[in-house]
Subunit: 220 residues, 2 copies
């Protein structure tokens, strides 16, 4: 079985590596990182560059597609080549999934129209512009489409997917190997639990990062 994880300029590393950590432990799974180019010049902060094994023009068709989010998603969601590839892959994939703002790319190819779906909590409006109804769940499944909430939610979604593919026993083994026994130090992981001041500051930073990303990409 093959999983393709789509990377693009301005993706968020944990969105990709959370599901990767789970799925790379599923028996007989091959993981391909796939990008529009073989080299991302503007990946997440601190990486100088990021190489992928395949471009969207040469990648083997995957059984599972994972689309991470990031400050660059809104730009990727307007890239015709990327959208065409995602559309083609979805025709034959067994599972088509997104993490965080990656849902906007699924929205852009029209497959969330009329469905409930999730994304990062700050992007409800952007998601609903594609005809989906945002729900505040860790992940939402409709047939072979699964959308997950912000960043770290990809881990929970991928464990669910591991169970679908390899059965509950193997999924539990993978959770144990990752020692995924989370103990977040604060009760601020969701807008339901965070204070209004925390929510407001988080929104500001997210908006700044998205603007910064648009400038970076204009410069490239």
């Amino acid at each position: 079985m093959r999983t393709a994880i789509l990377l693009y300029e301005g993706f968020t590393a944990l969105d990709a590596i959370g599901p990767y950590a789970v799925l790379s432990n599923v028996p007989e799974m091959t993981i391909d990182f796939v990008g529009k180019d073989l080299e991302l010049k503007n990946p997440d902060k601190g990486f100088t560059s990021f190489s992928v094994a395949h471009t969207i023009f040469t990648a083997p068709p995957p059984d599972i597609l994972v689309i991470p989010g990031g400050a660059g998603t809104s730009i990727a969601a307007q890239d015709k080549d990327i959208l065409q590839w995602v559309q083609d892959v979805h025709k034959s994939s067994q599972w088509t999934t997104s993490v965080c703002s990656g849902a906007l790319i699924l929205g852009a190819i029209g497959i969330l129209q009329g469905l409930t779906a999730t994304t990062h909590w700050a992007l409800q409006t952007e998601l609903e512009a594609y005809g989906a109804t945002y729900v505040s769940e860790r992940f939402v499944q409709h047939g072979n489409i699964i959308t997950a909430a912000g960043v770290s939610a990809g881990i929970d979604m991928a464990l669910h997917l591991a169970r679908e593919i390899a059965g509950q026993e193997m999924a539990e083994v993978i959770q144990l190997m990752m020692e995924y026994d989370p103990q977040p130090p604060f009760a601020s992981g969701s807008p339901r639990s965070a204070s209004p001041a925390t929510i407001s500051l988080a929104r500001q930073i997210i908006m700044q990062e998205s603007e910064q990303e648009q400038k970076e990409q204009a410069r490239l």
Copy 2:
């Protein structure tokens, strides 16, 4: 402030990217990925190669050191150049931290002697060979040394560190931006909650991966 994340052949991606996701959002933080060579030829499964910005011979001295774990740690923990660098960095670092089997590298430079510490649940014996006492905690702090448990525990540890560096409000904002509101689908994240069969199968796979890694590295 600078964070160096040490990468080596056979590191586990999530061990590095979990803390990275948190620390890269701390205001005015620079993150450097650092390796013995600029190119890792045998990184985690599915990466064809992994480039870092600095080698241990040229990296700027960091304020925070993060040492991830992985199937390659026991080999890295015998590499004189890596050990020398970690020892030098620890002399001036503000925080020296490990995730998962990364604790074995801290053990190898002798700084866990006589302390309680944590690591992946399957590596208690290996950790205690360095004179530490294993405790089953998400992370353990003694002064400026923090050890975290297996793989995903690096996220919880880094949020704690974010509070120490940037205060609780910013740490809560970072948790919210990551939507770190974990909802693991199974109660199998720790040997306390997993079944004996799950624990036994996880141990087998971990042992196989470590043997596989030793063969890979002998081949390089």
